[in-house]
Amino acid sequence: MAYIPNTDQDRQAMLEAIGLNSLDDLYTPIPEALRFTGELNIPSRYNQIALEKHYKTLGNKNASAEEYPCFLGAGIYDHYVPPTVGAITGRSEFYTSYTPYQPEVSQGVLQSIFEFQTLTCELMGMDVANASMYDGATALAEAAIMACELAGRKHLLVPDTINPIYRDVLETYVRHMNLTVDTLVTENGLTSVESVKAAITSETGAVLLQQPNFFGAIEDVQAISAAAHEGGALFVTCVDPISLGLLTPPGEYDADIVVAEGQALGCPMGYGGPLLGLFACKTKYLRRIPGRIVGETKDGDGKRAFVMTLRTREQDIRRERATSNICTNVALYALAGAVYLATMGKQGLKQVAELSLQKAHYAATEIAKIPGYSLSFPDAPYFKEFVVQTPGDAGKLNEHLMSKGLIGGYALGGHYSGMKNAMLLCVTEQRTKAEIDALVAALREFEGNS
């Protein structure tokens, strides 16, 4: 086997050294009845040429954003990935290493994570950040649990403008920790401060908010943050890191914990995984953060060096009293995020955000002009996504768009019962005017439009 160096001859010699006769003898510690002696009912082996063809065939069956202009977002985004990201994450020193338990031979990964943490803080305007979480959804769930523990309260106030999938994951997580979720039903695509104030109780551990929210709309974060704090709750936000090229960072509206899905920072959409969870908070909560943290220190010569730190929070030391059970995180995607942010830089990220904003507004304006189409939340300011009321079934509409070579939007009916024909559209800096115009033309042609 090409991945296994040893030959029959090697194996024979090694068995002899060990004092065994056969490979089967290696399994004598397993009671005979428990050994598996049949053949697994899995596919037969592929040779390399066949295996390459196989994955290409499978890959080509999928409608990638490489081939079709993509107007689908809803949490996973087709933003531009500069070529530096692949060049660096493709270096095997990074991707074939493990968790940097041995800092002397892991300074590369450690420094890159330290830089990632710093970039996360800079982006969010927060004090401290961790080395990453699985994804935005679980990061939000962990933040909610942490917030409740900090507040010593057991309720979470969660507007329905938060990504419904995130709310699902949150619900699963916190239910097992005996916390409850109070869902705040909103109108007009925005969370009103009044409704938050009305819903908050002395048991509310945290108010959660997504900015821009799931509909792409921009919430009144300052007012809601103040309302949460007034109610003695923590304020936890979930943000789109790309939007922070343009939008006020959470640190400036006094968020206590901030999480984000970082996929848009140079990570592949990859059919939704792996993803990149970002997690930041105020310094005073540092020792309660879930997951790994890299810190600065010195080596034996007094030289600056980096190391995983505050490890007594973690499961391998604190076990059942750890701040979380997370172990493996997504270091390689954090590296991608660091390379992405380093490459885009101050000017580039702002430009990405501005281009997305302008193009989304152009698209929305043009679409709203088509008879039968309208913006669902015409009064809500928005960033790169917006909800369109369409003249027919959103699923059908997507089929129609695909027949025109376009990947359409996210059909909202499944999660929002009142929004059957509504579609969430996303426009990133990658979309050209010509592509947007093609979308508009295709929407106009949709048969539902009558």
Binding site: E52, N60, S64, E67, R91, E115, L332, G345
Partner: protein, 493 residues
């Protein structure tokens, strides 16, 4: 290649210079509106303090960092419990295919048939390897899988009117994620001891059984590299008191194709695809921790599952008794893809070669090093072997940590040390199947040399490492004065 005393690896932020650009983006090709007309004034950011570098600077910076990092591609990485095997390049090429890399998870099923086929096949393949009945691919890592598995156990008990079961038994040698996951699932944990053979102490286990027990988590082979040969009886005992048995499958590299947790009596298990099936560890992640279950737990699996219908593969969201969602989408698809290709490469004909060679390599090291370091348990081990440096510590003041650091000077990554805690001064060596006899021999020679040096020249061992990019690191300092985020030097007044 340069004088380390002349090396000053700066941080991105220290390299940054105002006005540098790393990318050239397009001009706006749609009519530009004023920001103020589009966004509320309070929501417009004033300053974005990100670094500014040109493309060559970005590449050079991170290339330098990579050069300070040990990896499987650069050498032997016998980090026990982590299964640091070679990551085939074909799988990396596959992951770059835009049909996977640029695939949006919300595409209609009809537009993602290739991806759904991968997921469907892997549900079946992992189910078969586990000897179970169904698999959820959603967990993003091992610990996430544990959490899911425990949630399933909880759902089962609640569904059967046994909601009062509040305790999970965890052996003392278990990985820290096991008790931590139990806690995250709202369970109390109860620790059972290991016996002198390094297995679960059956007497102790029996004495703790009650109708409060929701289940037991067990790693098999356990974290001592030993097969829990009482496993059938253990499962019977737990089942007997109404509990379920969870298998932490982190050590499946010892078993694939040779033994199946489902056959042993386990009810639920997770795989670490990033270990057993070679999706790269990436310096700490991403991972993938699919969970396989027996029929009794299938009704509670998280949504969605992938099913095969007449019109093709489809996501099934309708699972009435599901515990709900634990991941935004369908798990670590890109890792699952790599592992799928890894498994297809071996196929049903050869998959057990993985286990055979992993176990063979571990036992070879055990045999060859036995005279030089004390093996913790003197018997045939599974995929990893644990030595103890307790004697060396007592007689020469050299700790497992020192041995680990000294190995770096020989060009090796150290083994896992101080885990599991029940072996004093543990050195846990897991070679995996992708290492050659020659590599093992060289490593063995290095270990023997270190064993000699411990007696004859302990200082060289104690003061190691000598040739790494940095010298031994002050871990305590980092925790005492945490600095986890760079900030500019305060300007001196």
């Amino acid at each position: 290649m340069q004088d380390p005393s002349l090396t000053h690896e700066r941080l991105l932020f220290e390299i940054s210079q105002p006005g540098r650009l790393g990318v050239e983006l397009p001009d706006c090709d749609v009519p530009v509106m004023s920001l103020e007309s589009l966004l509320p004034a309070a929501q417009i950011r004033k300053d974005l303090p990100l670094p500014e570098l040109s493309e060559p600077e970005v590449i050079r910076h991170f290339t330098h960092l990579s050069q300070k990092n040990y990896s499987v591609d650069s050498g032997f990485y016998p980090l026990g419990s982590c299964t640091m095997k070679y990551n085939p390049k074909l799988n990396e090429d596959a992951a770059r295919h835009p049909g996977f890399a640029r695939l949006h998870p919300y595409l209609p099923d009809a537009q993602a048939q290739g991806a759904l086929e991968v997921l469907f096949e892997m549900q079946n393949i992992l189910t078969e390897i586990a000897g179970m009945d169904a698999t959820s691919l959603q967990p993003a890592a091992g610990a996430h899988g544990e959490l899911l598995g425990l949630m399933l156990i909880k759902a089962y008990h609640e569904d059967h009117g046994q909601g009062e079961r509040d305790t999970i038994i965890v052996p003392e040698a278990a990985h820290g994620t096991n008790p931590a996951s139990a806690a995250r699932c709202g369970y109390k944990t109860l620790t059972v001891k290991s016996d002198s053979r390094g297995r679960v102490d059956l007497a102790h286990l029996k004495s703790e059984l009650s109708d409060k027990i929701a289940g037991l988590m067990l790693t098999n082979p356990n974290t001592l590299g030993l097969f829990e040969d009482d496993i059938a009886e253990i499962c019977d005992l737990i089942h007997g008191c109404g509990g379920l048995v969870y298998c932490d499958g982190a050590n499946m590299n010892a078993l694939v194709g040779r033994a199946r947790p489902g056959d042993m009596g386990f009810d639920v298990m997770h795989f670490n695809l990033h270990k057993t099936f070679s999706s790269p560890h990436g310096g700490g992640g991403p991972g993938s921790g699919p969970v396989a279950v027996k029929k009794i737990l299938e009704p509670y699996l998280p949504t969605p599952q992938v099913v095969k219908t007449e019109t093709g593969f489809a996501l099934e969201h309708n699972i009435p008794k599901s515990i709900g969602k634990i991941h935004g989408f369908y798990g670590s698809f890109m890792c699952i893809l790599r592992s799928y290709l890894f498994i297809l490469y071996y196929g049903k004909e050869r998959l057990k070669d993985v286990a055979d060679n992993a176990v063979l390599n571990a036992n070879y090291i055990r045999t060859e090093l036995q005279g030089h370091f004390d093996v913790a348990f003197d018997e045939i081990c599974m995929h990893e072997v644990i030595f103890s440096a307790k004697r060396q510590q007592r007689e020469h003041g050299i700790r497992a940590l020192d041995v680990a650091k000294r190995l770096m000077d020989f060009g090796y990554h150290p083994p896992t040390i101080y885990f599991p805690l029940i072996v004093p001064e543990a050195l846990m060596i897991e070679p995996t199947e992708t290492e050659s006899r020659q590599t093992l021999d060289s490593f063995i020679d290095a270990m023997k040399q270190i064993a000699d040096d411990i007696v004859n020249d302990p200082e060289v061992v104690k003061s190691a490492p000598h040739f790494t990019p940095v010298r031994k690191i002050d871990e305590a300092l980092a925790a005492r004065q945490p600095c986890v985020c760079w900030s500019p030097e305060p300007v001196k007044a």
